[in-house]
Amino acid sequence: MTKKIKLSNLTDMFKGMDVEALEGVTIEGDIELDLSGGGVFDSTLAYSLGHEAAQIAVHLVNISRLLGYPVEQIFAGSMGTESAVQDVSAPTLLNDLLFSKFEVSNAEEWKHTIQEVTLGATSADGGTRKNTITIGGENALPYYFDSPMPHRNYVTMDVFDMPISMAKAVRTHYEDVMNDPAEWAKKNVREFDADMVTIHLISTDPLINDTPPKEAAKVVEDVLQAVDVPIVIGGSGNPEKDPEVLEKAAEVAEGERVLLASASLNLDYARIAEAANTYGHAVLSWTQLEINAQKELNRKLMKQCNVPRENIVMDPTTAALGYGLDYAYTNMERIRLAGLMGDEELSFPMSSGTTNAWGAREAWMTSSPLKQDSDWGPREYRGPIWEIVTGLSLSLAGNDLFMMMHPGSVQVLKEITQTLFGSIENKSIDINNWIGEI
C-alpha cells in the first residue's frame, strides 16, 4: 500500500540531514506525491510548493549519490523540459553518446571471377571497329564494396531491318530512319550515345517477308559500314530459319567479333555455335527464365560445340516490370551468385532484352483499360521510366549488357549505372538540412 505524505512532512523529514546521518536508512515502498487535490493552484502556493519540491529534490539527489546511482545523467538529460516527475521505472536518459564502431566483413563465399568477354575487333585484331567492349570479370555483385567492378555496363540500341510497330514514344525518335537500317544505326551511335548497335533481321521470318539469308547479310554489311562500334546480330526468332540466317551473317561479319543472337535449346544451336567458331564471333546463350536450362545450354555450347568460354554471353530472359520481372530479376541474381560461388556453367556475363519493357501496357497504352484504376497520366512519361526501372533492377541482379530502345531511357540508365560504377563525379550536395530545403 502506498503511504501518502505531505510535501512539508517530507521537507521536515529531510531537513538538516547530511550524508552521515543517512547511515542505515532504507526507503521502502513507493513515494507518491499527490499534487492534484484541491483544484487550481494559486500562484503563491505553486511557488512555495515548487520551492519545497526543489529542496526535497536536493535531498533525494544526495541520497541517490550515496547509493551510488549516476544521478547526474538524469539531470543533464531532463533539464529544460516540462516533464515534472521522473517515473522511477522510466528509461534512463544518457548524457553522452556511447561510441560504437561499425564493422562488416566482405562476402567470403564469392571466390570466383565471372568470365570476361570482349566484343568487337579493331584493325589490330583483324576487324574494322574503332573500339572494343569488354564485359564480365566481376568478383562480387554489381557495385558492391567487396570488389570493384572491372567494367561498366554497356548499352546496345536496337535497329530493325524493316519498319516495325512500336510504342509512339519510341517511334517518334526513329520515324526518319525506319526504312534505312544503316542510317538508323548511325543515329543510335551519333545522337543517342549507343555503345553498340543490335541489328535484328526480323524480315527473314517466313511468316513476315521471308527475306533470304544472303539478302539479310547485306544489311549486316551496311550496318558494319555505317558505324564503327561493336555490333550484335539478331535473327527473327524463327527456330527453323535463324541458324541459316545467322550463319550467313556471321560469314559476312568475319573477324569483327560480333555477338550472335541467339543460340537456344529449341533450335539448331550447334550450327550457330559452329558459325561463331568459324568466323570468330561470340554467342548469346538464350534460355527462358530457367536456371537449369541455362546451365544445360551453356554446357552444350562448351562441351559439345567447343565454344571457348571467352565467347559466351548469356541472356536468361527479361520480363517487363509488372509482367514477370520478379522471376527475371531473381533468375539473374541466382545465376550471378552461383557464378561467383564457383559454378563454371553459369559464370558468364549477361545481356538483357530491356526493350521488352515496352510490352507492358503501362508503357504504351493511352490510359488504363480498368475502370477501378486511378489516372495513369501521360504515356510518354510512363514508357521511358518503365524501361529504366526494368533495366536498373536487372543491373543490380548482375546484368552487364542492355539491349534498349528509347534514347531517354538509355541516357538515364547509363547515368545511374555509371554513378554506381563510380565514374560519375558530381558536385557534392549537403543533405544535413534537407527537410526544409526542398
Binding site: 553518446l97 477501378q372 497520366g377 543490380l396
Partner: protein, 468 residues
C-alpha cells in the same frame, strides 16, 4: 532467425502432434516456422504454463534478424523490417517497403487537402489486388511549431494513413506529436546535434524514431546503441541518401553494409532502413528530371534494402513504377508461378459466349481474367499448360502450340462443337502465327484477338459476330 532447420525448432515443441496449429504434425509445424509461413502462437499448447520456458526460448530463436517496427495504429498500421535474408530467393522478403509521400507546412489548405486526397486515393489494380500508397510525410519547412501542428492536424482530419513527422527541431516535433500522438507516427529525426531531446520525445510519447547520420556509419551505430541503451527500441536508421555522383555510390554501399552486418548478427545495427529519394529534388530544378531521378533512387533502394522511403513526386509515372518495383521485389518467390491448366468460366457464359485462349502463367492469366471480368464480358478462358511461360515467349519457345491447345481441350473435357454454338477459338494476338496449325489440329475456326487483352472490349465490339 537463429535456426536453420525444422529439427532445431522441433526440439522445443510439445511433440504430441495434436494438429491444433492446422498442420498434422509438430515436425510439419516446425518447417512452417522455419519458412515463416506459420507463427509460433499458432501452436496453442506451447502457450500453456508448463511449456512457458520453451516458448520464450524458441520465440527468441525465431525472431527475425532485422527488428520489426510498427508505425500507425489499427487497420492502417504499417510494419517495416523483419527480414532474415539478403536475397529474396533464399526465403522471401517480409514487410514491403513503406512508401511515404510528402506534404509540407507552408502549403495552403486547399492544396494540402487535395494532395493528401491524391495520396490516399491512388490505386492500381494488379493481379487481383489494389496497389496503394502507405503513408504521408509531413515536412516542417517553416520551422514554426504552431504552423507544423496546424498542418499535422489538417492531415489527420483528411486521412487515416500513418504519418512521418519531419523536422530537425525538437520543439517542432513535439508540437506535431501533441496533435498526432494517438496515431503512433514515426518521428524524423534524431541527429548528432539534437539526439538527447529527440530521445526524450520518443520516450515521452512512446513513438518510433528515425536516427539520421549522413554517411557516418560509426555515428549511426553509436546513436543506435545509445538509444537502445535508453530503452528505445523502435528505431529506423537513415544513413543519408545523397542523390548523385560518388556520394550516391557511397550511399548505396552504406545500405549494403548495414544490412549485411544486420543479417549476419550485429544486433546493434539490425534495424529497418530508411531511404530518402526526395533528395533528388535538391539536384534537379526541372520537375520531370527530378521525378525521374527520384524514381530511379526509389527503385535502387527498393531492390537493395530500403524498408521505408520518403518521396515527393505523386505524378502517376512515378507512382506506378514505384508500386510495381516494390511488388516485384516483395512478391513471395515461393508462391506458384502457374494456375492449373483448365477451361475457366468468366462471368456467366452461355453457348454463344466467346472462347479465349491464354497461358497458365499466373500473371498472364490473372491479367486477362481481370480485363474480361472488369469489363463485364461473359466468356470461357482457357489456361493452356505453357509451363508458366507468357504468350509471346511461349510461342517463341514452343510451349504454346496447337497440340498443347488440343490437349488442353481434351483434359478439360470441353468440346467446342457441343459446348459452344460457334466452334470458334480466339487466340491472343501475340500467338497469331499459330492460326493455321490450331485450325488443323482442332477443326475449329480460329480468330485472332488483340495483342493486349486490355483491348478485348473494343475488339469484341468490332469483331465478335454473335453479339449481345
Amino acid at each position: 532467425m537463429k535456426l536453420n532447420s525444422p529439427l532445431q525448432a522441433y526440439k522445443y515443441l510439445p511433440g504430441d502432434n495434436c494438429g491444433k496449429c492446422g498442420v498434422p504434425t509438430c515436425m510439419a509445424f516446425a518447417s512452417h516456422l522455419i519458412e515463416r509461413s506459420l507463427k509460433l502462437t499458432d501452436c496453442t499448447p506451447i502457450l500453456e504454463d508448463k511449456h512457458k520456458a520453451k516458448f520464450i526460448e524458441l520465440e527468441e530463436l525465431l525472431a527475425p534478424e532485422i527488428h520489426e517496427v510498427e508505425i500507425g495504429v489499427g487497420e492502417r498500421v504499417v510494419k517495416i523490417g523483419g527480414d532474415d535474408v539478403l536475397y529474396r530467393h533464399k526465403l522471401t522478403f517480409f514487410n514491403q517497403t513503406a512508401l511515404a509521400y510528402d506534404v509540407w507546412d507552408t502549403m495552403d489548405e486547399e492544396n494540402l487537402v487535395d494532395r493528401v486526397n491524391r495520396i490516399k486515393d491512388f490505386s492500381k489494380f494488379y493481379v487481383g489486388e489494389f496497389l496503394k500508397l502507405d503513408m504521408i510525410t509531413v515536412r516542417s519547412v517553416s520551422d514554426e511549431p504552431d504552423k507544423f501542428a496546424d498542418t499535422v492536424k489538417k492531415v489527420l482530419e483528411a486521412s487515416d494513413l500513418p504519418l512521418v513527422l519531419c523536422s530537425f527541431n525538437p520543439k517542432v516535433l513535439k508540437a506535431g506529436l501533441e496533435v498526432a500522438m494517438d496515431r503512433n507516427p514515426l518521428i524524423y529525426a534524431a541527429t548528432r546535434g539534437n539526439w538527447q531531446e529527440v530521445a526524450k520525445l520518443a520516450i515521452e510519447y512512446d513513438v518510433p524514431v528515425t536516427l539520421f547520420a549522413p554517411d557516418d556509419l560509426d555515428l549511426l551505430k553509436s546513436l543506435t546503441k545509445t538509444f537502445t541503451e535508453m530503452g528505445i527500441e523502435k528505431l529506423v536508421l537513415d544513413p543519408g541518401t545523397f542523390p548523385s555522383g560518388k556520394q550516391l555510390k557511397t550511399t548505396f554501399e552504406n545500405f549494403l553494409k548495414i544490412r549485411r552486418a544486420g543479417i549476419e548478427g550485429d544486433r546493434d545495427i539490425a534495424f529497418p532502413l530508411m531511404a530518402v529519394p526526395l533528395t533528388a529534388w535538391m539536384m534537379h530544378d526541372d520537375p520531370l528530371s527530378a521525378s525521374y531521378w527520384e524514381t530511379v533512387l526509389a527503385s535502387l533502394f527498393t531492390v537493395r534494402y530500403g524498408d521505408i522511403m520518403l518521396l515527393h513526386s505523386i505524378e502517376p509515372h512515378s507512382l506506378l513504377s514505384e508500386l510495381h518495383i516494390r511488388d516485384t521485389i516483395y512478391t513471395d518467390p515461393r508462391k506458384p508461378v502457374t494456375v492449373k491448366p483448365d477451361v475457366y468460366e468468366v462471368g456467366s457464359p452461355t453457348a454463344d459466349s466467346p472462347f479465349f485462349v491464354t497461358t497458365n502463367f499466373a500473371l498472364t492469366y490473372y491479367t486477362v481474367e481481370s480485363d474480361l471480368s472488369s469489363n463485364g464480358i461473359d466468356c470461357y478462358l482457357m489456361a493452356v499448360d505453357t509451363e508458366g511461360i507468357g504468350v509471346e515467349a511461349a510461342v517463341a519457345g514452343g510451349q504454346l502450340t496447337a497440340a498443347k491447345i488440343k490437349k488442353g481441350l481434351e483434359d478439360a473435357d470441353f468440346v467446342l462443337k457441343e459446348d459452344t454454338s460457334h466452334n470458334i477459338i480466339i487466340l491472343p494476338g501475340l500467338a497469331a502465327r499459330l492460326q493455321g496449325d490450331v485450325e488443323d489440329e482442332t477443326a475449329a475456326k480460329v480468330m485472332i484477338g488483340p495483342p493486349d487483352s486490355g483491348r478485348i472490349p473494343g475488339w469484341m465490339d468490332e469483331k465478335w459476330p454473335l453479339i449481345k
